[in-house]
Subunit: 320 residues, 3 copies
Amino acid sequence: MNKSISLSQIAKELNIDFNGDDTFISGINTLKDASSSQISFCDNPKYLNDLKTTKAKAVLLKEELVENLPKDCIALVSNQPYLLLAYATKLFAPNVLEEYGKEPVIGENCNIMPNVSIGKNTIIGNNCIFMSGVFIGDNVSIGDSTIIYPNVTIYRNCKIGSNCILHANTVIGSDGFGFAHTKDGQHIKIYQNGNVEIGNDVEIGSNCSVDRAVFGTTKILDGVKMDNLIQIGHNCEIGEYTIITSQVGVAGSSKLGRNTVMGAQSGVAGHLEIAPYTTIAARGGVTKSIKEGGKIWAGFPLSEHKTWLKLQAKISNLLK
Amino acid sequence: MNKSISLSQIAKELNIDFNGDDTFISGINTLKDASSSQISFCDNPKYLNDLKTTKAKAVLLKEELVENLPKDCIALVSNQPYLLLAYATKLFAPNVLEEYGKEPVIGENCNIMPNVSIGKNTIIGNNCIFMSGVFIGDNVSIGDSTIIYPNVTIYRNCKIGSNCILHANTVIGSDGFGFAHTKDGQHIKIYQNGNVEIGNDVEIGSNCSVDRAVFGTTKILDGVKMDNLIQIGHNCEIGEYTIITSQVGVAGSSKLGRNTVMGAQSGVAGHLEIAPYTTIAARGGVTKSIKEGGKIWAGFPLSEHKTWLKLQAKISNLLK
Amino acid sequence: MNKSISLSQIAKELNIDFNGDDTFISGINTLKDASSSQISFCDNPKYLNDLKTTKAKAVLLKEELVENLPKDCIALVSNQPYLLLAYATKLFAPNVLEEYGKEPVIGENCNIMPNVSIGKNTIIGNNCIFMSGVFIGDNVSIGDSTIIYPNVTIYRNCKIGSNCILHANTVIGSDGFGFAHTKDGQHIKIYQNGNVEIGNDVEIGSNCSVDRAVFGTTKILDGVKMDNLIQIGHNCEIGEYTIITSQVGVAGSSKLGRNTVMGAQSGVAGHLEIAPYTTIAARGGVTKSIKEGGKIWAGFPLSEHKTWLKLQAKISNLLK
């Protein structure tokens, strides 16, 4: 199911000069995570250190950054590397549905109701219950004793652990929200070729959306409990035993440490880290990483909960 | 599928005096948009100019506004014109499901999975993929190469363009939220007889709700990209290439100009206009129209983003 | 479908000492609502009055609270009564799907589309329309003339009245969010063995989640109108003719009086009461009970709307 494309063909599709030794490329990844069979991209000088140490076979980047490439790494030079990245992700996107593949393997003692759709190459453990209207895509794996309520959708390539409960109409693995922008204001889709992995003993409420990663994996670790109508963006990592109450949103690439508690209608901006045992009160909005664990935070802008209470008292004093 | 009802019968059903020349009425619309075969209503003096220039055949209104009617327009006098409007919308509501009608027409090279329901008179373009659990109502049209993920529901009479992606469990065309209220506090449904039209190259995330118009059309224009768990109210117009991130709500009848950007968990109140190229930061709440485009706004109440930052600094100084 | 377990067996499963007269227990409930065939729990001294007057046959509680038990009530002593409650709820949880039971009874003149799943012992009234992908669990009852749009999920044991409209992809009766916590930070599910009851003439928009009660019933009373993407927590009671607009969240056990109006994106914390005819403006966050009805409130922290407007003026003056 993974595609392999020659570097010369990628360059041709992207309309880039390329004269080096040709080789097959298996995918795209960040500078940090790319293997020597993958390509990467650099559109922001703040990733210069990652650029200097990347193991990627080739990197999409601007002319002025070429001098920072590791010795064996091939430059794919463009004025718009992020836009070309978007076009490149399309080259590596799998078919929406597998054309070929094995029939799914279902474990023992499962109760699969009528009108459940299970994709090719998918493997289901023992003692699972899947109710009507559940859709499970291609190349999915699900552990033992997991209960999936009606009309849940699980996209291709995702993994779900054992003893999980997924409530009705929740979606696991829909595309992360990623686009490059043209000069005239159009948006070019960055294909979300990663997946979602959910650990064991996870419960997710109804009408939640957990987006698949652009590269790599969106992770919900063991023992996480989520309420209803929650958004988890692409490439997030939700730490063990974290509690997320209703209508919370966590934007892309943020990492919540273990036993984080997110109050109702709170939110986390993208690319942040929250230290373990942090509590965010209802409606709190996190826009900076929280480095010291075990504290309670509130408000938007966020402050420590006790500070927020004092501040609200001061604010209400304005009326006196 | 459109109903045609004589004016005398409408008057009888609504228990209104009517003695003029009878004629057939094809539907209901606002004062501004009503044609000469439609009826309209006026429950608020702020629409007096629309009343004076309406092309409607007849108007539900209070006695004291009758003198403002155009010469050929028939008065349907009531003390509770909005309540009677609600009853009138029921008269024009189509059947929930078409009893008669043609089998749907499906284009070439489509992949329609099992357990997809497609309504009467519906027309599907070429190269579409519809996954299991997708419901497409009666009288819908969908363009070419559109991908619809599992358990998406598209209500009757809606139009979807080409090259669109609708992610799992999203709903297009559910009823807008409109009720008239009786004196004893009950709510009478205003039937939402309009539809939703979505342009080309639109992507909508999972678990979104886009409501159908009460009259006319809720519009999502070309190239719009929407994330997950988003609410679009009835009769909104979302301008070309607008970006709406997760958990945003846009209330009824608001218009977003092209290339608007709505940050996560932001909101727009009803009946507003936002100028093109406006950015609303995460959590921003828009309660007045934004007339000058190209600016960044934040907060609730909303202010320019740079002003909001200064204000937050001043507020946090209250603790010193 | 209700389980009956002997007190000695419950004690054994929970690893608690028990030497009294044995008897059969039919379920678990709060101190206030428990009948003489149920057990209850007390983990918080603020419920001391309820403890002193409970009719429960036996109560899980700490040693130091035993002296407050009514004379005939049996003590089930533990250092972690709330954790043992969680384990006890599992003992009383019904099977996820009924193994035995009667075929559903469907009234006259209903339009049940293909791919609708209706559970055992379920009773449907006359003139209902259920569209494709609707799932109705075991032991459900639904009144006359109710319309259920595609991909709605109704869990077991719930009741829906007559003349209701449930829009697409809404979920009624998913598990409330309740967990007890172990000393090492794991979360033990409190099985949600209650249900949801929805009155007559209720309309609920698309993609809403209404959670089932932990014990007893989550109630949506007659004539309530709800927009899209709304969260109603377990054990809430939404009073007659209440209006809830889009993206509102009401946390567990809160009671909204009749004709409450909740503006868009507003929220109510758990265990509160809101007096009848209260209006909460958009984005308002209710964290204390509202005892006097008929007023308009706004902001977070909440204040009367007119006060909130004055306060915002004062705040914006900080920049002068």
